[in-house]
């Protein structure tokens, strides 16, 4: 059956069951109550500390078929996820559903455990590298289940994801289980995704290389949610966790795109006193910040708050008084980590606070503008950030569709051409963010405004910017590098892309190569 954006989705998908089809960005009404962990008790003077990860696996009673979760704040420096799965495999436990907030290339090491049947299902934001290619070939019992950060938070709260055990890497943990992400060698800043898992998992194991006396300060995840503590030598490699400082790109094409995007924001009317904004961490989207900053200073305006995926350059704007507050679900570089540690107006937030569509209002709903990147876009303004030009999984959904839905102005920045490939096409391979939530596509050769946004079209008509229709943009791309052949795919569904509301917006079929 075709869903509301014309994607052919089967009514029933093996391993997933009956499909609720996407019917529009705000069409689905959730019902029921939030799920929660078991009631538990911890008697006074009980010692939560266990000798090893192996002992913890026994203590939580991990069994075949259970779901375990991890957070991805350590990015490519993560030493927890691979280590825990290795220990589970050694115990002969099988048929595990892995539910990390995202996967990084460091997790390519999990491939053998999928082949051995230790892991048979994965629910996450996306995958890259060898793991992405491997998952595109199938191999799991269920299709890879891709959720946005907000969608994952909603699924955890509704019980669609039931986490039996959350294994949380803790940069700082006290002897009774209070955790923060800002102290220690493996400091990663915000623990936004872990906060979500800790609150809803049946059992929580904190794994730390920095055990501190009780009580810890500040506390991000409270002792009331942490059942066990394991101390190990190292939970992460600082070099992989965060880069020194993400710098503005020097690539002239990205700078040109960024400059255009800032101008679009300027003329849109949303760049005004007390506006709010989210920037992606990609080259062009981050560089927009630089141009926005100049405009803010020229016009003498200040913003209300920023949202991230936080980088140092954004945090710096707050320190310079250009924004009042920052809401941070994930800190991308060392200056951002330092900032959340020292600035009381740099707030840590949970994934639910960030982007969950099924609570009483996530912060994305308050956003004036968001700048997002894209792998490819199509003439319906749909955006793909998950599969590459061969149909192979190589990216992550992240907060893309959440912020696009929430913000009043969603600007997608992307090069019109990557090498010899057009990035504006008739139809994207995989839809992650529906075009109805995207307002402008900004490329180095032209800017297209969603025809639904008559107000924006009007505001931008005398801007002098290269505004054109999305079809003209596609024609320029096709004119320069030709229309790409469609990717041949089999009927086998290797991945499903869930929209933030839990409906299926698209599926990933195995390419025939």
């Amino acid at each position: 059956m075709k869903n509301s954006i014309g994607r052919e989705i089967p009514d029933f998908i093996k391993g997933l069951g009956k499909v609720t089809n996407y019917g529009g960005a705000f069409a689905y009404q959730p019902v029921g109550r939030t799920a929660g962990p078991f009631l538990s008790t911890c008697l006074p003077r009980r010692d939560k500390q266990l000798a090893s990860i192996e002992v913890a696996i026994d203590a939580v009673g991990l069994k075949d078929g259970m779901t375990i979760s991890f957070h991805h704040h350590f990015r490519n420096g993560d030493k927890i996820l691979n280590r825990v799965v290795e220990a589970i495999a050694k115990k002969g436990i099988r048929d595990i559903t892995l539910s990390p907030s995202s996967l990084n290339t460091v997790n390519d090491a999990l491939i053998p455990y999928i082949e051995q049947g230790v892991i048979t299902a994965i629910e996450t934001s996306g995958a890259r590298g060898k793991m992405g290619r491997f998952l595109t070939e199938g191999h799991l019992k269920k299709p890879l289940h891709i959720r946005s950060h907000g969608g994952r938070a909603a699924a955890i709260e509704s019980g669609a994801i039931h986490i039996d055990v959350a294994f949380l890497g803790a940069p700082a943990c006290d002897t009774y289980g209070n955790i923060n992400g800002v102290q220690g060698l493996s400091a990663c800043g915000s623990l936004g995704y872990a906060i979500q898992d800790a609150a809803y998992a049946d059992q929580v194991v904190a794994i730390t290389d920095n055990l501190l006396p009780h009580p810890l300060f500040p506390i991000s995840i409270p002792q009331t949610q942490v059942d066990y503590i394991v101390v190990v030598d190292s939970i992460g490699d600082p070099k992989g966790i965060a880069s020194g400082a993400l710098r503005y790109t020097k690539d002239p094409k990205e700078l040109l795109i960024a400059n255009y995007a800032a101008d679009v924001m300027d003329y849109s009317g949303y760049l005004r006193q007390d506006f709010s904004m989210q920037l992606g961490s990609g080259g062009a989207s981050m560089a927009v910040g630089r141009f926005i900053k100049t405009k803010m200073m020229e016009r003498g305006i200040t913003g209300s708050f920023g949202v991230g995926g936080m980088t140092g350059v954004f945090a710096e704007m707050m320190e310079e008084g250009l924004f009042k507050m920052m809401f941070d679900v994930q800190s991308f570089d060392i200056p951002a980590i330092d900032s959340i540690k020292k600035n009381s107006n740099h707030l840590e937030m949970s994934a639910s606070y960030y982007a969950n569509p099924h609570n009483s209002g996530a912060i994305v709903n308050n956003l004036d503008a968001v700048i997002l990147s894209a792998t490819e876009v199509d003439v319906d303004f749909n955006v793909n950030v998950i599969t590459d030009s061969n149909g192979v999984i190589m990216g992550a959904s992240g907060g893309h569709c959440d912020t696009a839905a929430g913000a009043k102005l969603t600007i997608v920045v992307a090069p019109l051409l990557r090498g010899r490939l057009p990035m504006v096409k008739d139809a994207v391979q995989t839809v992650v963010t529906p075009g109805e939530t995207v307002d402008a596509i900004v490329t180095e050769r032209g800017i297209a405004i969603n025809p639904k946004r008559l107000d924006l079209i009007d505001n931008l008509k005398n801007s002098g910017l290269p505004i054109m229709s999305i079809h003209e943009l596609r024609d320029i791309a096709y004119g320069l590098c030709g229309k790409p052949e469609p990717i041949e795919v089999s009927d086998e569904i290797v991945g499903v892309v869930e929209y933030r509301d839990g409906t299926i917006i698209d599926v990933i079929r195995r390419p025939i190569s």
Binding site: K250, P252, K253, L255, L256, G419, E444, L480
Partner: protein
């Protein structure tokens, strides 16, 4: 108003990605380079790529080709291959005298005839990079009606002077001055050398202020990020525009009153000042600066 050539941006002729994007950055002229940016082993492929780029891309701006010098084994081959694609402008490096210009002019005339191009439609410019070239700069600049500009290539020039480049540019002061004189006498534009430290915006700005003051029309650039800085400095300031407007108003007023002496705020205005004011306003219009620099 002459065609603006504030920024003439070099693009390596053997880099498809850069060729593809060359037209995006607003440079007044893009120079597709077959010479220094291209290794000897890459000369053929660069020539072919540049041919395809000129024929296939719609750059929407003036497209020049820097050919190899005609005394090298590549110069004439560059012209033979590339003229049928009809570049707007041929830039000759390391020019040593007017004969070279005349030889190339003849060759271009033949190609224009063969390809049914309007005679004289392909323009030329030359860069002097030696003391001899500089001594003959006027002769070079006036050797052909195709000539539209002269440029100076500072790296080779300073090497030939047995000195080095410096931040203040004193080593180039005489040469720059002499080139401006020759170009103005011949009625062609005068383009300054590249500023190669692409991360030093302040240094670029200082050098631009200097060459603008000396009378240069533009600058060769090596990175798109330099284009906006160049345009910014070459744009007339609001103060210059206001003054020019006042001068012209006073001039008009004097004409209407048939008054022999024109004065503005107590200062006498003579015809060169009027001419300069007209040039500033024409330039401001051409650069569409929306009121000039802030």
């Amino acid at each position: 108003m002459d065609k603006l050539r504030r920024s003439m941006m070099f693009i390596p002729g053997n880099n498809p990605g850069m060729l593809q994007n060359a037209g995006l950055y607003g440079a007044d002229t893009i120079i597709l380079d077959c010479e220094d940016a291209v290794a000897i082993t890459e000369k053929d492929s660069a020539r072919n790529l540049v041919f395809e780029a000129i024929s296939g891309m719609n750059y929407g701006t003036e497209v020049a080709v820097r050919i190899n010098h005609i005394s090298t084994p590549f110069g004439w081959d560059d012209l033979k291959r590339l003229l049928p694609a009809k570049p707007d402008l041929i830039r000759l490096p390391m020019c040593q005298g007017p004969d070279e210009i005349r030889q190339i002019d003849d060759f271009i005339s033949e190609a224009e005839h063969k390809n049914n191009f309007t005679p004289g439609s392909i323009k030329m410019m030359a860069a002097v990079e030696t003391p001899k070239g500089l001594r003959l700069a006027y002769e070079i600049a006036s050797a052909s009606p195709r000539m539209v500009a002269m440029a100076i290539g500072a790296e080779d020039f300073t090497a030939n002077l047995k000195t080095t480049r410096s931040k203040l540019g004193r080593e180039l002061f005489v040469a720059r001055g002499q080139l401006v004189l020759a170009a103005r006498e011949a009625g062609v534009q005068c383009i300054d050398t590249v500023f190669s430290n692409i991360n030093d915006e302040e240094g670029l700005r200082a050098e631009l202020e200097l060459v603008k003051e000396m009378g240069f029309d533009g600058k060769s650039v090596v990175n798109p990020r330099q284009v906006t800085v160049v345009h910014d400095v070459f744009a007339p300031t609001n103060k210059e525009i206001d003054y020019a407007e006042n001068v012209l108003a006073a001039y008009q007023d004097a004409l209407e009153k048939k008054s022999g002496v024109i004065s503005l705020n107590g200062k006498m205005i003579d015809l060169p000042i009027v001419a300069r004011a007209e040039r500033v306003l024409a330039y401001a219009k051409a650069t569409a600066t929306k009121g000039g620099k802030k």
